[in-house]
Symmetry: C2
Subunit: 460 residues, 2 copies
């Protein structure tokens, strides 16, 4: 079994495991107590804070440990917004943030605040000017991830941080995907991260609030962790998190070179091996270990199962893997194909031969799914069957509407139109993406009695 | 070193450690993922939920895992209050709840809600009638701990739950101190607990919301744990928590008998061995392993250090151990002596001889502190020195004002008054407590140019 889903979670780093063991023995007591066991726990906690602060590049008293990266984000955003309530209630986020940031934005909106979601380009990055342009006199906080969790694209954090600083607006950087690789450069004000992403244990997050940043913790609080993370400290987890962060940082340079070469190999090979594939994400400004691609005429969940059967664990941002049946917000914001989406994120101990084997089995796995769904043969001219200019794909889930469109396009005279009636949310993304891949023109959408009519003009 | 602070935290139970080890290997992946590793993590999480639900006595889908007991309380109270917003904004808590409950109540008040804090008797328990009397048409939620964390007194949860049910008001039971001993009986609606109190790892709490209880999670949420506990699940911790809960429950009966005998021994011996001591908490309806007493003319922090030096780790609810310089809210609510307060909470592996040794060294430790503070010799008649009817103890911290009072009482004619000027918060509690212990009359307090004058009448 090859585990290629490192961006979700990785097994505990050996250093983390060792630190966890030791601090289960030494760090189980309440660090607020005056007795020997309490003082010992306090020492461990203080040392872990210093280690983590050193890795982040901040003062120890600017960093608190939370119970998860999500919790760090929720607390950080709520506290920073409340701290600047007098300035205004405007929050800026990129459209491709992690769901924890977007959920915080939703909660802020539900409470009467205003939110700007800065769009991204086709590679998944915000434009600094667009982000800076959203800053206004009533902006209380801006949030930008250091790198995207689904496609690996790095964001222009340093430039955006400078623009925010110039406008006097604090920037919160969600560094969940990148902190194991290095410090986040730039003049940010708040930073969040999650230990289980870098090989630390689950149940530990980081929240950094730079001195001088207004911050008012929300909800019930207590005296622990500077009043920013209530509840008994998980010291064994915290110690393991800090120790493994230091360890992975020491290996980061070498590991990055190795993983970048392997993802480069996948980026280059997949479009050659599998027809009708779009590799997504920035080819250059990206995390070393993530590569994401989407396969036309494939549904993500079935492909995941095919790959799982072949011994590969990957994840997917395709609609079909989530219970909500909508494509991932990241792919949607990028405007790229969402069907048959696969994210490969390599763990640091990946073997070259596992990557080669993945490339070997991928074409057959994709073909198997396409066959099941009755997709048109790749490159084959669509058969000139009888049939109309309207494709009724109502009630059909992705990627079937696109498959149906591909089946009839050959019947349409060059310059003629075809309307695809569909009510699956993914069609809105995938039909334009198909047009781009196939060299056809996407005209737009029209309201229909049921669902929506997506209009396509045959160009060739 | 003997660790007698089990009510704060205990070392990891061997079963918890074993379960943690195993699930670090098997349960590190994201349980929301479809691949093999994700499915394996999901199975572990589901099994842990069933085990914990069995121990609580609820349905698995009523129980979620949170990142701490504090978090369970904060979430549970906020969610239950919001779920019944239309009914009203009235919250009822006992005056001796854990700080996490009281902080939630403070936050509710700060947001415009109303709170009733039901007083307790001298033994630390609420009266069911008093609690029931606080229920009104606008009561959204009531909270009552199963047993008190500082003095061990059990609360009449079953009776209070029945009263709440009759009034249609949900009752939240903070079972942090008792869940390792057994289920909380009665018709409660919500329950919270903390794994590190029963020998589970830190970083895991439980929140149970019975079906039919209105509940609206507050703040940003995600799809994990039924939307009630956001963030990546700490599965190794959760598995260890559930396994150890089952294990300690299996041993609970035997352990309770043993610990109850030992705390009984301490309860009986301390007043015989140490003069001027008040043992606090209910002598019968109490947790097996906790015994708390207060020593006149002693400051808690110095006594803790004396005991620490003698090899015993205990905790204290005295003012002097906390940075805020106010006595514990529990002792204050009970109206008992707060100075020189010691909580002994025995771990399950305590040895009889350690308890005997504690009783051996305690008298000398208390005497040493009293000597340092120049306290009057126990039982000695106060010397008939010259001196006035006003004791100026302004600027002096507990227990000095009481010591000064004891020094002059002999100068006051029987039936005469003495005024103690003091500005330490603890004096308000400790001077009346001293009067009761010494058979003198506490008349009341009067405003003074600085601080407060506490008026005492000499009776004998």
């Amino acid at each position: 079994m090859s585990y290629f889903d490192a961006a979700s979670a990785v097994p505990l780093h050996p250093v983390a495991r060792q630190a966890l063991q030791a601090s289960l023995d030494e760090g189980w007591a309440d660090p607020a107590r005056l007795h020997r066991e309490g003082r010992r726990a306090r020492l461990l906690l203080d040392a872990a804070r210093e280690t983590a602060a050193e890795a982040v590049g901040c003062r120890p008293d600017e960093l608190v440990f939370t119970s998860s990266g999500t919790r760090a984000v929720h607390c950080g955003i709520a506290g920073a917004l409340a701290g600047r309530r007098r300035v205004g209630d405007h929050l800026i986020v990129s459209a491709v943030e992690h769901s924890s940031v977007l959920h915080s934005a939703d909660a802020h909106e539900a409470a009467g605040g205003t939110v700007t979601r800065v769009p991204v380009g086709r590679a998944g990055a915000v434009a600094t000017e667009a982000f800076a342009g959203a800053l206004g006199p009533g902006t209380a906080l801006a949030c930008l991830q250091s790198a995207n969790h689904e496609v690996g694209t790095e964001q222009p954090v340093e430039e955006v941080a400078a623009a925010c600083r110039a406008a006097g607006v604090p920037l919160l950087v969600d560094a969940a995907q990148s902190l194991g690789w290095g410090r986040v450069e730039g003049d940010w004000s708040l930073l969040t991260a999650s230990a289980h992403k870098w090989g630390g244990p689950p149940g530990v997050g980081l929240l950094v609030v730079r001195k001088g940043t207004r911050f008012a913790p929300q909800g019930a609080v207590d005296e622990r962790e500077s009043g920013r993370a209530a509840g008994f400290e998980n010291i064994p987890g915290i110690v393991a998190a800090a120790a493994s962060l230091r360890a992975v940082r020491a290996e980061a340079g070498e590991r990055a070179v190795r993983l970048r070469a392997l993802t480069e190999r996948i980026r280059a090979a997949v479009p050659e091996l599998v027809p009708d594939v779009e590799v997504v994400g920035d080819p250059v400004r990206r995390l070393p270990g993530i590569v994401t691609f989407s396969c036309l005429y494939v549904d993500g969940e079935t492909l995941l199962h095919e790959l799982d059967r072949a011994g590969f664990s990957v994840s997917s941002g395709s609609s079909c893997t989530s219970s909500t049946l909508t494509p991932s917000h990241v792919l949607r914001a990028m405007g790229v194909l969402s069907e048959g989406n696969v994210r490969v994120s390599l763990p640091s101990d990946v073997r070259d031969e596992d990557v080669e084997r993945f490339l070997e089995i991928l074409p057959a796995a994709v073909s198997a799914v396409r066959e099941k769904l009755g997709a048109p043969a790749p490159g084959a001219a669509a058969p000139a069957t009888s049939g109309g200019r309207v494709v009724d794909a109502l009630g059909m889930l992705c990627p079937v509407p696109v498959i149906e469109l591909a089946k009839v396009i050959g019947d349409v005279p060059v310059g003629g139109l075809v309307r695809v009636l569909a009510d699956d949310e993914a069609a809105r993304l995938d039909i334009p993406a198909w047009c781009e891949m196939r060299g056809q023109e996407y005209v737009g959408e029209e309201p229909a009695a049921r669902g929506t009519a997506f209009v396509v003009k045959r160009l060739s």
